[in-house]
């Protein structure tokens, strides 16, 4: 009788040990799977990401200068550039569209879709020809899109 009771106690202890191992293993397994799932699709191809960001950065840097040059006309008698850039702020909508179209065409050849909106403009000091132009730039590579509001300061002497 005592032997039977002792056997029974041993087996209960074994079961408890095994249950403990199962519990520990389950916790380990579930935490491993959770961390694995958390990382699914986390890896991105860096080239694609950086090229859109890089392209947008290039556009942001140069768009204002191009707009400035497009809005300011060259004087036909300005042999040695005696006069600084001259233009007319009332032309800004046409010149902005011209600049946008130029960028659109260039970027399309590299697989990017570009768009820009003129949100408004104001002058800092009209006499010195310093204007603030508020724009929204947009760049799309088919997979991702970047858009940002950018304010450019452009300078030219009003006709």
């Amino acid at each position: 009788m005592r032997g039977i009771i002792k056997d029974k106690g041993n087996e209960n202890a074994q079961i408890l040990v095994i249950l403990g191992i199962v519990l520990a293993t389950s916790v380990f397994l579930i935490s491993s799977l959770a961390s694995e799932i958390a990382n699914v699709d986390f890896v991105v191809i860096s080239e694609t990401q950086s090229s859109l960001a890089r392209e947008f950065s290039v556009i942001k840097e140069s768009f204002g200068a191009t707009l400035n040059y497009n809005i300011a006309e060259t004087s036909s008698v300005d042999t040695k550039m005696i006069n600084p850039l001259k233009g007319n702020i009332t032309d800004i909508e046409d010149k902005f569209e011209q600049t946008r179209n130029e960028y659109f065409n260039v970027l399309l050849t590299h697989g990017f879709l570009f768009d820009a909106h003129l949100n408004g403009y104001e002058y800092s000091f009209k006499e010195t020809g310093l204007y603030y132009v508020h724009t929204t730039l947009l760049l799309d590579d088919g997979n991702a899109r970047v858009t940002e509001n950018v304010t450019y300061s452009i300078r030219f002497i009003q006709y």
Partner: protein, 204 residues
């Protein structure tokens, strides 16, 4: 008897879990299924982009000949080094700057395009800039580009067609319009300020 059966069930569960863990571990060890581009396909384009970004970022100023009516000081146009090298036909400085950023076994041609799709050869890695100096690409060609802005008046000087007066120095007039005119039509008259600086590179 019941306890023994329970033990066997638990043992089989442990065996199954161990097997699953072993398989998961092996899958984890195997290479990622995500296709990463090889070094040569992305690396050269990235290096080219960085080279152009670096040269572009070197902002310089061009004295535009005007004076501020209030301060009386001379006024300047901010311009990137990339544009200035083009405007002043400074092929030597341009290729030297690019060569500093590229590996020595890389050769390249530089092209400049306007926004209407016209594209002309500008110079090669050897420094040559005439049409006959254009190098023939070898193997895979990688392309980097950078948009540059060029003021109209730096390209077309109406009263003096041969020279350009810039920062108190007289330069030979920029070759850009002549190159476009020679390649396309004599009536080439692009009036935009947007140009695309294209760097086509290949390894030897």
């Amino acid at each position: 008897m019941n306890d023994k059966a329970q033990m066997m069930v638990l043992e089989s569960i442990i065996f199954a879990i161990t097997t699953i863990i072993a398989i998961a571990f092996l899958i984890n060890l195997s290479p990622s299924s995500i296709q990463r581009a090889t070094e040569t396909t992305t690396d050269l384009k990235t290096i080219g982009d960085d080279a152009l970004d670096t040269i572009f970022a070197q902002q310089t100023t061009i004295k535009n000949g005007g004076t501020d009516q209030y301060t009386g000081q001379e006024t300047y146009d901010p311009t990137s080094k990339l544009s200035v090298c083009v405007i002043t036909n400074n092929y030597a400085e341009l290729t030297a700057s690019i060569n500093r950023s590229l590996p020595t076994n890389v050769f390249y041609n530089v092209y400049i395009a306007d926004s209407e799709g016209n594209k002309v050869f500008w110079c090669a890695s050897t420094g040559g800039w005439s049409v006959t100096d254009e190098l023939t690409p070898f193997g895979t060609v990688f392309t980097s580009h950078h948009i540059i802005s060029i003021n109209h008046k730096h390209l077309r000087v109406y009263s003096d067609p041969t020279s350009l007066y810039l920062n108190c120095v007289t330069y030979q007039r920029c070759h850009l319009v002549d190159k476009f005119t020679a390649k396309y039509t004599s009536s080439y008259s692009y009036d935009g300020a947007t140009y695309d600086f294209i760097l086509e590179m290949w390894r030897i």
